[in-house]
Symmetry: none
DNA sequence: GTGGTCTAGACCACG
DNA sequence: GTGGTCTAGACCACG
């Protein structure tokens, strides 16, 4: 599991970390129960401040994706609670992306194929 | 074409305006060549700063969605240049949304149906 | 609305701020739509760092109690979404407090009276 | 008397143990004079460090809930001294919980019923 | 002027 | 050794 920061992006670093870990959990590159790098290790590896990594972990914890304890560090939760739907914010964002894709000349089928590919097997 | 600002969202107001106009163009509620309200009128109607509306229009112009001239104000472009694909930023964002939806328990079919619905007829 | 920090408490400062604002909203000393002090003003007044206040506000925002925007600062939300029940964490904590009160010789009626008083008119 | 650790909770393990023993004493599942498992046994059974259990026992002893002697290990005290009231810390915490419950839409009666249920017969 | 982000550096309790 | 908290100080985009 390699985390890459896009320095040109407007997305804050801690959010990028959070997003990549969520994607890692979703696509299976981070297994349930798997240990995440420690806050310090990840900060050192990425050349950023520990506070920034900590912020990412705290958000992941609050969202129910990971758990932390002082003995074992951070681990992917065994059972992630399913919210049961797409959040309103994500729906709005999805709608925007679909609109832009459509105006860019992306066909319905191309878009569905891409989403299917991202969803995975 | 009514523009609604979500006060709870972290997305800046000028971006929300820009996004809703793009979505309006995509779903046909804003026709090619159609005139947009003046910066001043829209700002007044929404109770926001003219700078904010202006920023949205400038971005839309830069992206090729609208054109402005001194006589007629801002209008939707007749022919929007098709970029031919989804931008890298939107791909990253789409991947994130798909991952979160998947972890929330949304099935592949539900997601594809939603995307299809947003894409429209 | 005066916020007082208990320096002896184990509860982190940002949590104490968050708790007192929630209690203020609940008992009406903070009205819906009312403006909160700016992050800087509150930090200065309390003699603490802006980051600490910011953390409190961000948690309140995430929990749906307040909203922030760059023009108006932070304000109490007009309509706070009702979760519809007591959280599991609060239930556990409530159970603990009731147990300790009982062992301290507090009668059922005394406890109910106190809870009723806190609940307010 | 089974002690369960909530891994998701921010409450330290030693505190969780302490809390559950207090609740056990309060609801009668631990009788006055009843023997507690040894530090070693409980630590082994729960798969945690003996230091952690020891810390919980020390606090319970200091608070007057249990007594220890070298021969018999730890036992629930026969007569727990009644403090005669709710501690300031617990009052603050209770107020917070009541406020949050109220804002979550929990009615006065529902809350009183819950407290009554926790208080027991 | 506002909240949001980030750093460098420190200290703390838990285990 | 771990995550969590806090400070002092800086810079940024939004409006």
């Amino acid at each position: 599991m390699i985390i890459r920061i896009n320095e040109l992006s407007d997305v804050p670093i801690y959010q990028q970390i959070r997003n990549q870990i969520v994607m890692g959990i979703s696509d299976g590159s981070l297994a349930p129960g798997e240990q995440l790098p420690t806050v310090r290790a990840l900060a050192l590896e990425m050349g950023i401040n520990t506070m920034t990594v900590s912020k990412a972990y705290q958000q992941l914890k609050m969202e129910g994706y990971i758990m932390t304890d002082r003995k074992n560090g951070a681990r992917v939760r065994m059972e992630i609670e399913k919210a049961g739907g797409i959040s309103e914010l994500n729906k709005t964002e999805l709608k925007r992306i679909v609109s832009e894709a459509r105006l860019s000349g992306v066909s319905r089928q191309e878009l569905l194929d891409l989403v299917g590919e991202y969803y995975g097997g």
